[in-house]
Every structure is written in C-alpha cells, then in structure tokens.
Symmetry: C2
Subunit: 432 residues, 2 copies
C-alpha cells in the first residue's frame, strides 16, 4: 500500500446507521477513513427486540463492521473506544492510550437508555440497546417462565408471570407485543403447570397514547392490536418507583419479576468531549450543515445530534435520519454538497406483533396485515448483508407458520437459578 | 390431568443425547417421566466447534428441552440441578432444595473437560462443552485477530496470531481445522495490517497420530488434510505446562494468546453420588444391562457410564452410543427388553474442514470430499428440529460458497479490550 499521509484523514466514531453510511459513502474516495467502534459489529437495532424475545439469533441482526467495509480499501476499522476529543489539536483520545489525528471528525456515537436521573432503576428494569442487553432480557423472560412452571405459591407464580414494559414508543410497543406472543402463545404447549392465560403483560406509558410520534388514529389502532394480543395498556400512568420485583404507578403496585425499560434515551457523552451545547437528552445542537457550532471540522449525526427540521422541530432519533445524515456529511467532506441538510421522510413504521403494524405515510395511513407485510419486507431489505436477510426471512416464515420461537436459549454464567421450594409442584394446569 | 401417582415414576438426569433418547422412547407410555437438566436446552454437541469458530449461532444447534418434548404429555421438564442421590430412599436431591422420588433413575449427566489434575490450566486453555464455552472461545479468537490488527510489536503480534489446540481427537482436529479456515482464510480481506499467512495454528497431540480411534490410513489422511489447511501438526508432543499466553512442549515454548483444550474429559460426579466404582475418567462401571452394580433401579448411560463391548473394551464416548443406550434403558423399564445392551456401530465420522472429512465403516474407509458430503448430510439430518436443519444447511452452503463466517460477533461484558499501545499501527500488510 502506498504512502497515504497527504490525503485528508476522516475519523468516524461509531459504526451505527449514521457512521456506517458515512464510511460507505467515503469508500473508494481520495480520503483515508478510520472507523472506531468499541464493538466489532454493526447492529440492526430495529430488530433487537426480536433477539430479546427469542425469535432471532444475535448473528441474524449483527455483522462485523470490518466485513461490511472489507472492500473499502481506504477504510480501516479499529476496535477501540473514544474517551475524549481534543478539538484544538484535532486529535481523538482512545481507551487503548493511543490517539488518532483527523482532518474531519464525524461523531456518530449513538445513545443509551436514560432513567431520568433514577439510575438505580437500571438494575431492576434493563433497557434494550446492545446484544448483551437483549440476551439479558431473553434470559430473564425465559427464566421467569421456567421458575413459574416450578412455583407452587400462587402469589409468587403470579409475579413470575407478570411482565411490565415501561414506555410505549416503538421499542416498548414491539417488546410488549413480542413478550405477549412469546409468553401467552409460543411456549404454551411446552409447559405442564402454567397456561397461556396465566401470563400478564402490562405496557405502561406516562403520556396519553402509544406511539406518540404517529397520528392519533394509528396510535388507537396500535393500542387495539396490543389489547388483541392480551397486553394491558396503561396510558397516563407515570412510573413513581421501580425496585426488585415491582413497579409503582401512582397508588398501584404491580408485582412483576420481569421489567423492561423502554422509556428514555440519553446520548453518549460526545457533547461533554467538546463542551458543546446539548439538549435535555445530551444531544449536541448542530448547525444546519450538521457541524458542531464553532467546530469547523467536526460533525455530529444520528442520535448524537439535535438537528432541527425546517419548522425548527428536532428530527426524530430513527435510523433513516442517521443514515441520510451520514451520507450528507460524507458528501460535504468530499466537497459535493454545500446546502443545509434536509431530511427526506419516507414514512414512519412500527410493528406490534404477528400481522399487526402501523405505517404513517402522511396522506396514507395503514394498519393491520398490509402494514405488517410492508414492515417485514422493509426490515428484511434494510438488513445488512445478503445472508442475514435470508436467515431472518426464514426465521420469520417459520415463526409465522408454527408460532414457535427459534432462539429460546437461556445462556450465561449461571444457567440454572432454581427457585427455593421444598414441595413438588402439582401437575394441574391451574392459574392462580 | 388425572391422578397419576400409581404409575411408575422415571427420573432422567440430563437431556443430552442419552437422556433425550430415553425420554422420547418413554413418551406416551404408562410411566410418569421427569427430565431434570440444569440448562433449558439440548445441545447438538458435535457442531459446537462451529459456534466456537463463528460459523453457526448457538440457536442453530440448541433447542429448548421442553419444546422437543412438548407433545409428550407424560414427560415433565425441570430446570434444576441434581446434587445427590439417595439410593436407599429412592430420591434425588435438587439444588433448589426439593427432592424427587423415583421408581427408576437414569443417570445421563455427561462429561466435562479434564486437565489431568492440572486444573490451573483451565483458565488459560478453555475447553469446549457448553454454549458458554463456545462463545468464550469465539470471543477469544476474534479478539486476538482484532488486537493483532492494532499491534505493532512483532513479537506480540505473532503471539496474538498463534492458536494452539491441545489434543487431536475429533474435537481438537475440528477446532484446529476450523480456526485455520477462519484465521487464515475467512477474515483475510477484512483486515488491513494482518494477512492470512501470518496466522499460525498448531495442533498438539501426545500420541503418535491424530484421530487415534480411526484406522491408521484415515489418521494419515486427516493429518495431511490439516497440513493442507495450514495447520502445524505436532505428534508425540505431550504438554508440560500451560500458562497465560504460552504452551510448553518439552524444550519448546510456544507463545500463543489463544489456547484451546481438547485433550481430556471427566464424567460428572454421578459416581460419587452413588459411591459406585468408577474408571479413571470418573465413569461408572455398569453391568451389561447398563445398571449400576447393586442398584437394581438405577441406570447410567452415555458419557456417565463405562460400558464394555463384547470384547470387554469400553464403548466410545460418542453420541450414537448414548442414544442407543437411552433407548435400550427405556425399553428395559417398559419391560420390552431383557438381553444385555449391544451397540450397533454404524461407523465413525470426523471432519477436518471444508471438503475434508474421514469415515470409517470398517471395510469401507473414505476420506476427502465424499466423506465430507456424507458427514454434512448426516449431521444436518441428526440435528434436532426441522428449523435448525434448514438454518444450518443454509449457513453451510453460504459459508462454502463465500468462505465467510456468519456469526463473527464479539459479545460479553467488556466487548472492547484494546491493547495498550501508544503508537499508531502502520498500514503496511506485513507479517512479522
């Protein structure tokens, strides 16, 4: 390989939808690109809830970043973590102790869940952002069913079979629907003591409706679909407390062994690295061309950025925004674009469960089976890598035809955590 | 469900090949069966090395025990761990504190790796028995490649790219072949600093040949296939010491960041529970009808048992033996068989890598592509569950056509463990 130091160096931090889109757009161009990510894989986050509910395997929705970029010979991939940015000397500090010099820096570091200052809730109500998160939730849900099967005390069995999802945005709605399908349907014939109608799935939302980013009619359709699946939808119910095995909603205490957090996200600390002005979710307020104010050579995109649309409203934290921003920023670096970033909105999709989804295309609003088919095709299409598409398509067809889940594995350090019972459970199928 | 206490109660400990075969044979018969396993899934162990080398996902080769037995209404599955057996009162003690009473007990508890009394080696040379083991090895192998890509010190890079497999039985041969394919071929175009020929894979064996259970000609064919894949085969090389980053063979010290143990197994402590006579691997010497001596109602099968064939030689610790023993024991319990157990040997298969396998059918011995095709079809056929078969078949066809691996994910608590380097690595593709 020839000496390359005279070409502009672009450092991309984070290989989510935004960072990856930028790297792909810069591939083969006269720039030297380094992609830094603390994980070796790009994750198709919109399907992560399917890993958490045992429908897909991690490898179905994740691919090594360096495989995706293997043919981009001007792109290097570095497994490392950014700790700081020195904008004056144009350097990024890495966890390994090394530093990277850049001519252009793209911050695409994404977001984590946020507990609104109640970080102690995290231990009891895990969120869903990484493969580890998804496997931890899968383990929790499947172990609760196993323990319920062995439990004879009616109160404890009830708590084991109660699943609470906090937050009714797209992730919360998908999780609630998928848990209901898993716990009330997919596994029902496998157990001897518990029966499908024993499981209770509660979706808790502080606001007035589910999927608040969608028009009211679609929110209503989604809520109805959830109820059809057996989900209790609790609107206007802010959470007052979360602890080991319970959720407090106003006067009501729900005892539940499994609680999932889908209520809030917080951007990564990129704003702190740059001492940049941030919104309440930690996202950097960026200029119309996605530059960080007063940092000519630094862009922030995706969930890291608070970018306003034409009406001044912040763009939603969704994959298409991040992707288009990544491509835009790459074009700016290559000198091909000068105009401000403009988001082309191709519509908004959310799924609830088997045959149930909603689509908002502005004038056209769809729900039900048609929406679900479009959602399925779109998600398979956008999956990175031809092979993942086939694998996921087959898994879905299989699940659809048989109601079965493929990835019902309890793995981890202590695979069996049996309940502390002295008596043998009865063989009757009763539901306390 | 009706009162069932008058029917004989069969307790099966372990849902590997032996325990599952017994449970299936007892399904729908006039017995009440309880299967106890500390994991929720049955594992198709012969393909576990493919999970460890990123070719398959865990869910491709594992299925929930209770799904497999869902239609056997007289069979219950209990996620729990057996701690002891009280043969005088016919009870099994569980980790949960409960106990189970039995009329017949089948011990099918399997085996773990054994370090020949050098348990301190376990931390440096993990073995391959569970999904957790496989994911840990996958993580180790993939991280070594990532760190090698970032490493500038030639000695350390060399150690990162050296993979040692200890033990040249079927598992060791498969692991060495698969690691060579992964590290020297599958990932080669994804890296910028390391090249395929940098990776060194060493298969270490104390004995005189690989696959010692096979005829000499097939051992030679297998060794040649390994060499073709770029594996260094070191026969007659007992291991003197294993430590952090090294293996000591006689005078030679091999520096290697990744060491895999495939040299020995040790049966689970079932012999201790019963105070039964055991062989040097902890297996219970059983009677010709697979009963534990002087325990009329207790059978031991599979890797838990040392059962002699007609010539007095112990049967090999392979899946077909365990399966046939499970079926046999179920038949004995049902009163359908009285004669001693006789193993029907349908041949011995082992694979080395892409298009390379060996088959021993006694008179007919095969190696190369034909053997590999037969091996592939046989393994897909025996995979539990129709869906896994499709998934694995597609993964294999995909890998075969593209040389790619599907499941190259580094997951776990600390996904990035960067090396401690100060300098930026060079972009040259050189191999120290």
């Amino acid at each position: 390989m020839q000496e390359v130091s005279t070409r502009p160096r672009v450092v991309i931090v984070g290989a989510g939808f935004g960072g990856l889109a930028a790297a792909k757009r810069l591939a083969g161009r006269a720039v030297d690109v380094t992609v830094v990510d603390r994980r070796n894989h790009h994750l198709f986050q919109p399907l992560l809830y399917q890993v958490a509910t045992a429908a897909l395997s991690p490898a179905d929705i994740a691919a090594p970043i360096r495989s995706i970029l293997a043919n981009a010979r001007n792109v290097r991939v570095l497994l490392d973590e950014v700790h700081d940015v020195d904008a004056d000397s144009n350097r990024v500090a890495l966890a390994s102790g090394r530093s990277l010099e850049y001519d252009w820096l793209i911050l695409a570091t994404g977001a984590r869940h946020s507990y609104f200052g109640r970080d102690e809730w995290a231990a009891h109500a895990p969120g869903l952002k990484s493969i580890e998160d998804a496997l931890a939730i899968r383990r929790k849900v499947l172990l609760a069913l196993e323990q319920a099967e062995n439990e004879t005390d009616p109160e404890r069995r009830k708590a084991l079979l109660t699943f609470v999802v906090i937050g009714a945005g797209p992730t919360g709605v998908e999780m609630a629907g998928a848990i209901a399908e898993l716990a009330r349907r997919a596994v029902s014939s496998d157990f001897r003591s518990i029966t499908p109608h024993c499981s209770r799935v509660v979706l808790v939302e502080a606001g007035k409706r589910v999927l608040s980013a969608f028009p009211g009619k679609l929110s209503d359709d989604a809520a109805r679909s959830l109820v059809d699946l057996g989900v209790e939808v609790r609107l206007g119910s802010p959470v007052f407390d979360v602890g080991s095995g319970y959720v407090q909603l106003g006067d009501e205490l729900i005892l539940a062994r499994t609680i999932v957090w889908a209520a809030g996200v917080q951007a990564s600390p990129a704003a702190e690295w740059l001492d940049a002005e941030q919104d309440m979710n930690g996202r950097i307020f960026v200029e119309p061309n996605l530059r960080v104010p007063s940092r000519e050579r630094i862009f922030a995109i995706g969930d890291t950025a608070n970018a306003a649309d034409r009406s001044g409203k912040p763009l939603p934290a969704v994959a298409p925004v991040a992707k288009q921003q990544g491509q835009y920023v790459a074009d700016v670096i290559l000198g091909r674009r000068k105009a401000a970033f403009a988001y082309r909105d191709f519509g908004n999709l959310a799924t609830i469960g088997r045959s149930k989804a909603v689509i908002d295309w502005g004038a056209l609003q769809l729900s039900g089976l048609t929406a679900w088919l479009i959602w399925s095709v779109a998600h398979i299409w956008f999956l990175v890598g031809f092979r993942s598409r086939i694998a996921v398509a087959i898994s879905w067809l299989w699940s659809y035809a048989t109601y079965q889940r493929n990835a019902r594995l309890i793995t981890g350090e202590h695979p069996s955590t049996p309940t502390q019972l002295k008596r043998l459970p009865t063989l009757e199928r009763k539901c306390a």
